[in-house]
């Protein structure tokens, strides 16, 4: 049995397999089907200062090898999380990471401040990449100054490990990555969803209420792998890779490209047990290749 643990800044994960925000609820939804304690980490739903109803239905459509969503950060707000959800999940033996979203810098800061005292929150993931909200979200993540201003403000408000989640909807993701690192990010995660659109040809209407939405699933994987590879070379902080990972083999693509850990998103909808199977696969892979730890594989791409 190889050692599967990895470090994200000061945060030690028992293995590199985590679940992506917005695709795994608060973990509880999956408790009948998998042992949550086996996961490297759970990144909970995007959490905002105030409750949000999200976008009108329809919010999803299946597309070739993936899906578009326009959920729009529906959540009951950070107070509800702290008072009702945190007590239920803080006993889990896995890293609980809260995805922080907002429309203004003050919003992000307020959520970080509220989470800062909670010792069972292992890290925050600052989402500067949501394509489904009109203000804030992705607009912060598409310019270096925008990214820098949110990240440095959150840095002051949060003492623990701070991951910054990047959007792929930019010309050069490495510039934003460097800006986030300079502003105090302990790690970077990428990618969020790709801005996309689908049309119901018979009705001649958009498939989503918001017209455009975020594309996820295996259709985005090759682009996400490329971006992780570029970013891992451009920064010194750990990179967490995601985008279309369906199984352990896919996860290893990201790790070989330079990711220290990975997140499973849309895969959870198809196979709610995909994460657990992947942990086994990675362990077998290390054994098969005569390796005894995951860091030996990080960025080990022979090119």
């Amino acid at each position: 049995m190889a050692n599967l643990s990895v470090n994200i800044g000061n945060l030690r994960l028992k293995n590199p397999v985590m679940t992506a925000s917005g695709t795994f609820g608060y973990g509880e939804e999956f408790a009948d089907l998998i042992d949550l304690n086996q996961l490297g980490g759970i990144i909970v739903k995007g959490t905002t200062r105030m409750p949000r109803q999200g976008n009108p239905y329809p919010r999803m459509v299946e597309t070739p090898s993936g899906m578009l969503n326009a959920v729009g950060l529906q959540n009951k707000g950070v107070d509800h999380f702290v008072e009702h959800i945190y007590p239920r999940i803080c006993g889990l033996d896995t890293a609980i990471i809260v995805n922080v979203s907002g429309s203004t810098i003050d919003d992000y800061v307020a959520v970080c401040e509220r989470l800062n005292p909670l010792d069972k929150v292992a890290a925050v993931e600052i989402n500067i990449s949501c394509p489904n909200v009109k203000q804030g979200g992705m607009t912060f993540g598409t310019t270096c100054t925008g990214a820098q201003s949110v990240v440095s403000a959150c840095r002051k408000a949060y003492d623990g490990t701070m991951i910054v989640k990047l959007t792929p909807n930019v010309t050069d993701v490495t510039e934003i990555a460097r800006a986030a690192q300079e502003a105090g990010a302990d790690a970077l995660s990428l990618t969020n969803t790709f801005l996309g659109m689908a049309i119901d040809v018979e009705r001649q209407t958009p498939c989503l209420s918001t017209i455009t939405g975020g594309l996820s699933g295996p259709c985005i994987r090759p682009i996400a792998v490329r971006m992780v590879w570029q970013v891992a070379k451009a920064v010194n902080v750990p990179v967490i890779g995601l985008g279309g990972i369906m199984n352990g083999r896919d996860a290893l693509e990201f790790i070989l490209a330079g990711a220290t850990a990975v997140q499973f998103g849309t895969a959870n909808f198809v196979d709610p047990q995909a994460t657990i199977k992947a942990i086994g696969y990675i362990n077998d892979y290390l054994d098969r290749h005569g390796l005894d730890s995951v860091p030996q594989l990080i960025g080990a791409l022979k090119a």
Partner: protein
């Protein structure tokens, strides 16, 4: 209603009964072990096999549980590629299914429940009728279809209670939509349980509200996960705003919904 534990199980197709060209009744047996307990109105998330162009699971109502034979029945309408692949399954093939999901119909012990179904929406009503009958109640059915050939599983419904019929073309039963049928307009039942196309459910809900009859409908919102994780399937409610149809539904009392009826 009790919260049944979710399972992911492989099933073997024991029988695929083609019902006309557009429907199939699949009888599935868990490849190992027993079927988990399921309630009428709950659904399953089915992974579509042999299908290159579909990706997500497909939500399908639990049509019946046959505990003696250890069989799960699914009634499937050919709507697109995923359901077509399910309709074309052969005996002996394997199907991966997650179940049971969601909250089903209320089992009323006071007064008659009229079970109103349209098209493939009759699927969950078979199990509901069976369970009501087992509990000593007397369910009554009103089934609507486009033509006589689209009336599904009539023999099975006939075993459970009185069956009233409407067809759009008048080829069987009362000519027209279900809301034209005297059993519904007469308003002699205490409860309505309805599953079918949206226009039908809205019309039935409007009539129920007019007549002050308690009414539940089963929604078919587009779903990704089917288990409350993605928040894609939401319906706006009077009491709680957007809620997940896959966990709080698919069955809702019409008083919770914000339908303009």
């Amino acid at each position: 209603m009790t919260e049944n534990k979710k399972h992911i199980l492989d099933f073997t197709v024991r029988q695929n009964l083609r019902l006309g060209t557009n429907y199939a009744l699949l009888k599935l047996m868990p490849t190992g072990g027993q079927l988990p307990p399921c309630e009428p109105g709950q659904f399953a998330q089915v992974l579509v096999p042999n299908s290159k162009n579909t990706f997500l699971r497909r939500p399908i109502s639990i049509c019946n549980i046959d505990p003696n034979e250890n069989l799960l029945w699914l009634l499937v309408r050919r709507a697109g590629e995923g359901t077509a692949a399910l309709c074309d399954l052969h005996e002996g093939e394997t199907l991966n299914v997650m179940l049971p999901l969601g909250h089903g119909f209320t089992l009323h012990r006071d007064g008659t429940t009229l079970l109103v179904g349209g098209g493939v929406g009759v699927a969950p009503l078979l199990m509901l009728g069976k369970v009501l009958k087992e509990q000593g109640m007397q369910p009554e059915f009103l089934l609507g279809a486009r033509t006589e050939n689209d009336l599904l599983m009539l023999d099975k419904f006939n075993e459970l209670g009185p069956v009233h019929i409407t067809t759009d073309d008048g080829s069987a039963g009362v000519h027209g939509v279900v809301t034209r049928h005297p059993v519904l307009t007469g308003g002699n039942m205490a409860h309505i349980a309805c599953c079918g196309p949206m226009p039908m459910m809205r019309a039935v809900a409007a009539l129920a509200r007019q007549q002050g009859i308690d009414c539940e409908v089963s929604l078919e919102n587009l779903m990704a996960c089917g288990m409350g994780a993605c928040l894609c399937c939401v319906e706006d409610t009077a009491d709680a705003g957007n809620v997940c149809v896959c966990t709080e539904g698919p069955v809702f009392n019409i008083n919770r919904l914000k339908w303009q009826i």
